[in-house]
Symmetry: C2
Subunit: 740 residues, 2 copies
């Protein structure tokens, strides 16, 4: 690794904000000094070689849910925690987990092909040949099915792609669709295909997005080779995650279970992921119109939309077995406040060997936990209880975390101060999403962790990257703090934040570790040490980051929640939504005029079938005033609370009460009934998008109603959100009352 010259390090110092008198929210000056010293000690225990060792050990065999390898990894983690003196238990749930029984994809007619559906072993990758233990390439939660039909190429398989198909006069009803991976969470593609009447769905990795177009392919480089396949869940997680048979309840042995046919987050059509090697003959055989601009990939022929003369036969069946989930829960009890919990989690199950996803994050978490045990040996104890969770069953649908959170919901809502998640980790820049009341807090953490490549803080490195890649350089040059993203879905934070209202973070490093190994047999130790974090140093950086986050929350005198930050963020979302509605109104009116005056027909090539888009209902003016007024109150309430908390000296009794009130505040943003049509999601500010999956929708009730052009619902949801925020402001006022 190239080392930076002194000039850069000097610069780094000028960049670091307020280097001399670093403050720490929630700590007195004296306590902060103690804390900084502890953190230095903590850092000194962290070893990249341990991260390396953990990754090698835990990725040595395939270890998906219910596998011998999975049991071995769970045992490994349990034993590690045990050896470090944690109170550790294995908590087991019983969940549905389908694995492939039969997989067949073949094409007949004008052209014939039988798909390989197989990733070959590579001599450069030591674990790639463990065929007997590997899960075959498949999408978990595909339906059983045996369908034969012609094929239609649907680009990324998103709603707007079907709008374009409509314009081209192509109907997927009764057909099989083939969609590219990308632009949405994979589960959206078969869901939308099913909504449009498709009989089956094939998802492939196009080399433009995930293959040779991006860079040299594995094993020469890191990118997806022609045989690589992305496995993955296609559960309709935007409805609910976790075991499909126990929505809202822990999947304990004795839990009452749904009949599988009644699970509303399962598909009815078969879905199969394939490589671009297998996709090529299928796509080549398509006829019909040339794929529009933006639909074309990097395979060496002209992409057509289809259908063609060939018939595609897709036959899939699965073992719909119940499997045990092994969550490892390790505790280091708090010395003063054992009933206030700082929860730290990372899953341990993988689709195959999973050196990157999730083991790199799991390894960093173990090293972090070990360092705390070392610190504990020197006499330190966390004031609050630290709980380390190694989740099983994240890959099929956040099952280990969801079932645990559902099982312990009541206790968690009493005791959990925050949940800190990580997942795969690699070389690069800090990624941080989370609860915005903790945004100033996480900025302090990022200020105090040093990027191993440049010697500046990970905060400043992230700001530098945003600046260099960003468009609005003027604004970005002035920006000194990191605006953290909102949490969508895609990892284990989801049940904590969105279902039970625990303040949450998702932390990780990446951006200098691109590749195509994701959910393939090539996500291996050999791949990781070449392309992801060769010196394993970003494992240490993650341990420093999440460790500081956990320790500061565990030891803070006053929990560092800042609701003015949350208030500002929500107001920003509301402003965005108002601007979006105004823009949608203008665009719709103009577009309707263009359609009404038949310009599409006049401009169109009469030899090409491309209908005008349908006119849309004009966008009414929505009444946002209730939301706006409420946000003004929230701003005032948050400011009053901040002012009250800024006064030094909170009486000990009151401190306990105030801290509890602070960390439970996030729960006030939940509604009892949850979001419409998907009541498992109860947070009013953050939710995964119904049609994006991982991608977050902020103020989701309002936003998705507007996006779906349901104006009545949008207006109702404005009132619902205003109600929640009004109640939240009142809650903050009640906390302010607690402060003497």
């Amino acid at each position: 690794m190239r080392r930076y010259a002194l000039s850069l390090l000097a610069l780094a110092c000028t960049l670091a904000s307020s280097g001399q008198t670093r403050t720490l929210s929630g700590f007195s000056e004296a306590a902060a000094r103690t804390q900084f010293a502890l953190e230095e000690k903590f850092d000194s225990y962290l070893k990249a070689s341990n991260v390396d060792h953990h990754i090698k050990e835990m990725s040595a065999r395939p270890h998906h849910v219910g596998s011998p390898g999975g049991q071995a990894v769970a045992d490994y983690i349990l034993n590690q925690f045990k050896s470090w003196g944690y109170q550790v238990e294995m908590e087991t749930f019983y969940v549905l987990f389908p694995t492939p029984k039969e997989r067949l994809l073949e094409m007949s007619g004008a052209a014939t092909y039988k798909a390989l559906l197989k990733e070959p072993a590579l001599k450069e990758d030591a674990t790639s040949g463990q065929f007997s233990e590997q899960l075959p390439t498949y999408n978990c939660w595909s339906a059983d099915g045996d369908v034969t039909a012609s094929l239609v190429y649907v680009n990324y398989g998103l709603p707007e792609d079907y709008d374009m198909l409509d314009r081209m006069g192509i109907d997927v009803k009764g057909k099989i669709v083939i969609a590219k991976y990308g632009r949405s969470w994979r589960g959206i593609k078969p869901k939308v295909a099913q909504e449009h009447g498709a009989l089956g769905c094939i998802i492939y990795s196009d080399p433009m997005d995930d293959g040779y177009f991006q860079g040299d392919v594995y094993p020469k480089g890191a990118f997806k080779n022609e045989y690589g396949v992305q496995r993955g869940s296609v559960m309709d997680m935007p409805i609910y995650p976790g075991d499909p048979l126990t929505p809202g309840t822990g999947a304990t042995k004795e839990a009452v279970r749904l009949d599988r046919k009644d699970a509303t987050n399962l598909l009815h059509i078969p879905v199969l992921p394939i490589s671009y090697h297998d996709a090529e003959p299928l796509l080549r055989a398509l006829e019909g119109p040339v794929a529009p601009d933006g639909w074309r990939g990097a395979l060496p022929f002209t992409y057509h939309v289809g259908p063609g003369k060939a018939q595609v036969h897709l036959k899939l069946s699965f073992n719909w077995d119940m499997k045990p989930l092994h969550d490892i829960i390790a505790r280091m009890p708090g010395s003063e406040l054992p009933d206030e919990w700082i929860i730290r989690g990372n899953h341990h199950d993988a689709w195959v060997n999973g050196a990157g996803d999730p083991i790199s994050g799991q390894a960093a978490m173990l090293e972090e936990a070990r360092a705390f045990s070392e610190l504990a040996r020197t006499g330190w104890k966390p004031k609050r209880t630290l709980i380390y969770c190694a989740w099983d069953g994240e890959e099929p649908g956040l099952m280990g975390s969801t079932e645990w959170a559902e099982t312990h919901e009541a206790e968690l809502q009493q005791k959990a101060v925050a949940y800190i998640n990580s997942d795969g980790n690699g070389r690069g820049f800090l990624g941080a999403e989370g609860s915005h009341a903790l945004e100033p807090f996480i900025n302090e953490v990022a200020r105090d962790v040093i990027d191993p490549e440049t010697g500046i803080s990970v905060l400043n490195r992230r700001l530098a990257v945003d600046l260099v890649n960003g468009k609005n350089k003027k604004e970005l040059l002035a920006k000194k703090t990191l605006s953290i993203g909102a949490l969508g879905s895609g990892s284990d934070f989801s049940p904590f934040i969105q279902h039970i209202g625990i303040p949450s973070f998702n932390l990780g490093y990446g951006g200098e570790d691109p590749g195509g190994e994701y959910h393939s047999i090539y996500d291996s130790y050999d791949d990781y040490r070449r392309f992801k974090d060769p010196s394993f140093i970003y494992g240490v950086t993650l341990a420093q980051t999440a460790g500081r986050t956990a320790m500061r929350l565990a030891d803070a005198e006053l929990l560092p929640f800042d609701f003015t930050s949350l208030s500002r963020t929500i107001s920003g979302y509301a402003t965005e939504l108002m601007a979006f509605t105004d823009q949608l109104r203008d665009v719709t009116a103009l577009e309707n005029q263009v359609i009404r005056e038949k310009y599409y027909a006049l401009a169109g090539d009469p030899t090409v079938r491309l209908l005008a888009p349908p006119a849309r209902q004009e966008v009414p003016y929505l009444n946002f005033s209730d939301l706006q007024n409420t946000l003004l109150s929230l701003q005032q309430s948050a400011a009053r609370l901040s002012a009250a908390l800024a006064k030094p000296g909170l009486a000990a009794g009151r401190q306990l009460q105030v801290n509890q009130a602070l960390y439970r505040a996030e729960q006030q943003l939940l509604t009892r009934q949850g979001l419409l049509r998907r009541g498992w999601y109860r947070h009013s500010i953050y939710a995964p998008g119904f049609y994006t999956g991982y991608g977050v929708k902020t103020l989701p009730g309002i936003r998705e109603a507007i996006e779906q052009r349901n104006w009545k619902e949008a207006q109702e949801q404005i009132e619902v959100a205003a109600g929640v925020i009004r109640q939240f402001a009142a809650y903050l006022d009640s906390v302010t009352q607690l402060v003497p």
Copy 2:
């Protein structure tokens, strides 16, 4: 072809502006009625079958400069004009025209390959096998050369691509470069390569821009197959076009000629165009960094920048022969004003068979000329002289038109009212660029020609397409007139407008005729009738458009020049330049700050070599006031002239004087000394870009100085332009004085 239902035709009527009382600038109401009747008659003579016949005949054999086929096409055209009663002559010039003697491209070392450099015959294309008469694939005006070196991929080979190479630490000095066709005129690529010290330049057609990524390839579809090669000139036409040995003078037999080594528009390095079949092994053998985003094409591997271990050997030699150019000049003398000329032109030489380029335009022009001869038989005569020109030698460098214009410069500046150019033509939308004093006039023409596919005017169809494809729909919905483009280079209008100041147009149809046949052996009759204009009806539409343009200018009582339109346009260019300078200032200042504060280094991946861009000189404030004040005067002068001309009844004697003054006005925009470093270009408002080639630069002296960040020159050029415009305004005032 699909026919539109009545509703569209009804709509068309509502769209046609002022359908009932159509006015015609320069004609009294009575004269306009006569003119419309004549135009209807003229239209009735035009036959698509004749266009078809001409295209088939003239594209039957390869007919490049100096070939037997070229002589045959010239004779064909001459005989057609003769048979229609035109006064026709063949005017011959003698020019340098290099053709290949030896072409070799091979790769040795780690990988070996010998390039085919050959387009195969196809059974679906009857003329593709005429090998003995075809020019091989080459770039005309490449230097002789025999070079062996490693290869570097330079994207499109533009100055900004070399900036990126600098950032990657890659120097092309002493190497051979390979560039993609596209984004600039081809001649720019070897010129910039030579400026950077490259020994040779290979240009290839990437399938992403020109091949299977765009659509099905020939002969299945219209797009470039793997063997197709784009021939073409790499003369440095932004210096001067025409015979390189006779800049500024006609290349008559007795003309004094430069020594070839003294021609400033010829390259010193060898250049060769190749197919993507031939490019693939060369590109595959490259090593070094992965090509940046936006550099990658659609060949099925990872693009690297190079160099690699392989050596490339490029050996080219040429026959540097003198060849005769046969321009056909056909006249229909004016009945009242024989010394006022309306000149209409289209070239006849092709790189190979050239059914599309240029024969489709030539065929339409012939049919237009025939229709006038039919009209003449009914007793009509044009008031002014119509001159039809079929140019030779356009492909190597606008030679036939340039030598003719240079030879007859003085007479043309006296007599030429306007030059109307066309070139290849196809199915689609009107394209019109030209002198902005004639913008309102050409709008009237476009208003009165009906699009054969939709039944609305070609004006409204063009506006509809601009609207549907445009971003600013609000503005475009309100737009009722066509803003014509400015003339850059790339066809025979260039000497007329830019060298001798004759008001000019370039007219043609296209946009529904994409394909990859350009300058290949597949630009054939078989290709044309399948993919370009299958019913040949747009040949008729072009004849209607250019024919009306010519006839109205020939018969107008008052020539329809509108200098308020020109004044508005130039003011628009000035506003653009001021905004551009301001924006450049902001961007430069910000970018310099980002560089100065070392953000590139902080954000960069230390394992990837990518230097920060160099800081640039800050952009000073330029004094545009002289130009702004002058433009204000021009606006007033133009308005006064328009008002004077709007008064009815110009005495006959004065009318002659006024009309002459009007059509000679454009010459007042020339400067004696021409543009800096390329004095052949004398127009102050329009020039081809020094680094874009075909692409126009408006107010070129100022604009290119700003783009090159030469602030001193920019300020001087503002004064130069202001001086020209001041003089032009005074000229308009003098014309106003002529009006009684």
